[in-house]
Assembly symmetry: C2
Homo-oligomer: 348 residues x 2
């Protein structure tokens, strides 16, 4: 029997890290969600199935990115939160889950234009094949498709929440752009950026699933808390991976955050502990590709910033798990705990 592509990357994490317990729980999750996940993939890939000759450039760019599935962790959050309330993969759950993935994909398309990113998900970024213009339009197209789907669910609070989240994401990207290349060890600015660009959408996904599942206010609040912490943990791990040794396998070019001048948590810590690093990093970036890596990376790692980042991620994961522990026990709750564990332990 075919394993579901969505859970494969997560299972691979467990195998690599000998996380037998998590792997066992992922297997449970897989049988629990098998049908839902198949329907999710069908809904996402079905978005652009009118045949390649009628797809315009923008739709091709969007379909190209969506055909290289990520971990689908955001729709998984929606589906599992809805399941907490006993709500299966019905039309509302499907549309909100798909919307979570589309908003994420839209921001990737725009971010690659903004950051001049070359690679995404182990392949050239859409803009490298279809151009910046098609990528901007493809992002707009996915954003509007997501909003349309959520609007058609007839849950105004979910739509209103999504508009807020997209506004937060844009503001966070703008803040990140403002700070680009400065490498100031500003913890508050960093946290504002990743709360907006990553955590807000995780929070929205979990809360919206909870709304569809008709959970109590207390349980939706717990999901909001878990979503924010899970998102922070996820982004912190992403930050660490960019600087870790096996970064060549992450699906994005190793050190790409560093090259793009992004302030990540390991760099905040490294510059705090070794202030001279700030100007060294800036100089390396000004001098270009060839001097990034090697000695620079060794000096960053020598500060212990990577371990510190993994530790901060683990702390956020514990916050998420504590919030999830207040929910009704059962397969959906266990599956959400598993998502937290795999997000924390992944190395790509």
């Amino acid at each position: 029997m075919r394993t579901e592509p969505v859970l494969d990357p997560l299972l691979a994490v467990c195998v690599r890290h000998n996380l037998d317990d998590v792997a066992a729980r992922l297997n449970e999750m897989q049988s629990f969600l098998r049908d839902d996940l198949a329907l999710l993939e069908a809904a996402i890939t079905g978005l652009h199935q009118s045949g390649p000759n009628v797809l315009d450039l923008a739709e091709q760019a969007a379909a190209y990115l969506l055909s290289r599935p990520g971990k689908r962790i955001r729709p998984l959050c929606v589906m599992l939160a809805a399941r907490l309330g006993g709500r299966g993969f019905d039309r509302s759950v499907r549309d909100i889950a798909v919307a979570a993935e589309l908003v994420h994909a839209a921001t990737l398309l725009h971010d690659d234009v903004i950051d001049e990113g070359m690679d995404r998900r182990g392949a050239p970024a859409a803009r490298m094949s279809y151009g910046n213009a098609a990528s901007v339009l493809a992002g707009d197209h996915l954003l509007i498709t997501a909003l349309r789907r959520v609007m058609d669910c007839g849950l105004p609070s979910v739509l209103s929440g999504l508009l807020d989240v997209i506004a937060e994401m844009v503001a966070a990207e703008a803040l990140q752009l403002d700070r680009r290349g400065r490498f100031e060890p500003d913890r508050a600015a960093y946290l504002r950026v990743i709360e907006g660009k990553t955590a807000a959408l995780f929070r929205w996904g979990l809360v919206s699933g909870g709304v569809v599942g008709e959970l109590s206010t207390e349980h939706k609040d717990a999901l909001a808390c878990a979503g924010t912490a899970l998102g922070l943990a996820f982004q912190l791990v992403d930050d660490a991976i960019d600087l870790e040794e096996d970064a060549a396998h992450t699906g994005k070019t190793a050190l790409s955050d560093l090259r793009e001048g992004k302030l990540t948590w390991p760099l905040v810590i490294a510059v705090e502990r070794d202030p001279g690093l700030q100007s060294v990093i800036r100089d390396c970036i000004d001098q270009g590709e060839s001097v990034i890596g090697g000695a620079l990376l060794a000096r960053i790692r020598a500060t212990g910033a990577l371990a510190e980042t993994r530790a901060f991620a683990a702390e956020q994961a514990r916050v998420a798990e504590a919030a999830l522990a207040t929910l009704n026990p059962g397969p959906a709750q266990r599956a959400l705990q598993t998502v937290v564990q795999t997000a924390l332990n992944r190395s790509r």
Copy 2:
């Protein structure tokens, strides 16, 4: 007494063309709408008044474009349609009118990135000062701000209509991008592009004003028809202006549509009538700046394409006026007829 900046460009059109009758009607419109227009400007400029030091790059790029007001013709449509139903400039009218302008501004910001446009409204495009990255984010920011304002009006059909319109605009831009540089004399493709990229938002503005003004279904249908025709006339005139002699005064670089490889109506007609022109235009664009203009322009004009385009615009204006004639007579209806006349007669 200060004249309202919004109507000044329209009045200037009338003076240049000795349109005393239209000028007189614009003066009537000015006293009719004086307070509303002042409130509209306050609402638009107030969007980014948190002080320049707290504005991020994306907000700066958005504020930069909005501070160079265009003709505000889209919000004017909303306000006048609402007035048809006796509805003054209340919160809903204001929010929908502002949203119409913001969606328009958002598409300008993204279009300048897509088309690599250098100038906009007689000044360097936002992307020239703030960069492509800030312009992409600024467009996203304005789009979400517009949707938020419309959502808060509590009129689901107006929000749903706006999502449809933005989807149409994106699809039209994508189609235009696909066709760029080909100059195929494809009337149907051209009309699909301008219905989506220009007419749809005019239609939404008039219909939404009609919804707030609680007009009858017949009257809203008439406004939809008038909006589409007005939008087509507006875009056709825009197309003609790009190739007319005083294009240096349009606020966009003369011949910029031609340089960007856009299929415009005069080019459709010119290539239909003088098929050899298609490859000549393509060759000129391939050879770059210096050979565009002069002999090429003379050959395009010799086909009579500009007069034909103005005539087609006049035909659409008559369609719009006929639809408006079915509405209740009064200052709002006369003002809408005036908007159609000035859109038709402008030369910048």
